[in-house]
């Protein structure tokens, strides 16, 4: 043991033995009783409410648990925000923005756009049209299907001269002479 450690221990030993003495408790008793008798009931109630609401901060493990819980909540919030942002970015990528004045678009894409323009009844604004890829595919699929059915119908009419004559007669009656069978 080093000499300074011995001295340290001796000093501590003496300090431990010498317990500070309170000569008289009477003075403290009187002052305390005087103070507590002045405390109105409402103050005690207010203290009680504050203690009830925030008393947990004096309990170490509760305080630590609350800190941990708040950190977890913050982490969950950050994670949730990142998921939402990812989802928004994904949806953004799903949207096809068609610029009317774009010239670098491939030929089949232009054809598709012209078709959509025609299908929309030529009422779409010429500069911008926003549609998702999925919607676009559905639209093209139904147009192709419709065109196929139209061709089948024409073939049926061509094969049956009676039917053809009947339809031509009806078209003349309703003044739809522009349609050729």
């Amino acid at each position: 043991m080093k000499p300074e450690s011995e001295k340290y221990n001796k000093v501590l030993e003496i300090l431990r033995k010498s317990k500070p003495l309170l000569n008289s408790t009477e003075d403290i008793e009187n002052k305390v009783v005087a103070r507590i008798s002045r405390i109105p009931g409402s103050e005690i109630t207010l203290t009680g409410i504050i203690d009830f609401m925030f008393g947990w901060v004096y309990i170490g493990w509760v305080r630590r648990s609350m800190i941990a819980a708040s950190m977890v909540l913050v982490m969950v919030f950050i994670y949730q925000q990142s998921v939402v942002l990812k989802r928004i970015n994904y949806l953004n990528r799903q949207i096809v923005i068609i610029e009317g004045e774009t010239t670098t678009t491939p030929a089949d894409e232009i054809e598709r756009r012209i078709m959509i323009y025609k299908l929309s009844g030529r009422i779409l604004p010429s500069n911008r049209l926003i549609i998702s890829e999925k919607q676009l595919d559905q639209l093209l699929e139904s147009v192709t299907e419709l065109q196929g059915k139209y061709k089948d119908l024409l073939n049926l009419i061509q094969e049956d001269p009676e039917l053809k004559n009947y339809i031509e007669k009806k078209l003349k009656e309703t003044d739809h002479t522009g349609i050729k069978l």
Binding site: K7, I14, L15, S18, P20, L21, L22, I36, Y58, G60
Partner: protein, 181 residues
Amino acid sequence: MIDIKLIEECQGGNFDNFRKLVELTSPFAYSIAFRMLGEEDQAKDIVQETMVTIWQKIRKIKSAGGYKTWIYRIVVNKCYDHLRKKKRHPEYAVDEQTWALISNIISEGPSAELENRETSQIISLLTNRLSPKQKAVFILSEIEEMSGDEISEITGMHKSVIKANLHYARKNISEMIEKYL
């Protein structure tokens, strides 16, 4: 030893019984406050404030067992707050007279007993360079001889924090003793 019956009677709002409780509690509350603050008047003020707090929260006490730890917690927290405020204006000067006093006491041997004033001088001198946290841990562990668990329960500090603060306090005080004694 505090009797639970006395606490229950105080919970009923009886000033006379509370006076008795103050008489029983004040000496050890004063002892720790004095050791932590090193000033008689301030220690008495802390005891008074502690007793008022006890009166306001006495309804929370369910057993006599936890009463002493609870008192310690209130006293230590009040002293800690006081030290933190005081720490804003730190003053330190080498006090040769006190070092001579310590030297004399050590030479007297373990039978030496200190007066309150001497205890105050020595503790103030040894702990002057410590932070409030280190001082609190040093007093509770080295002078009051409390275990890490007890200190943790009283101060709300984690055991590792207590160990680190105690290590620093011991090192600092040993160095001072080595240098000046």
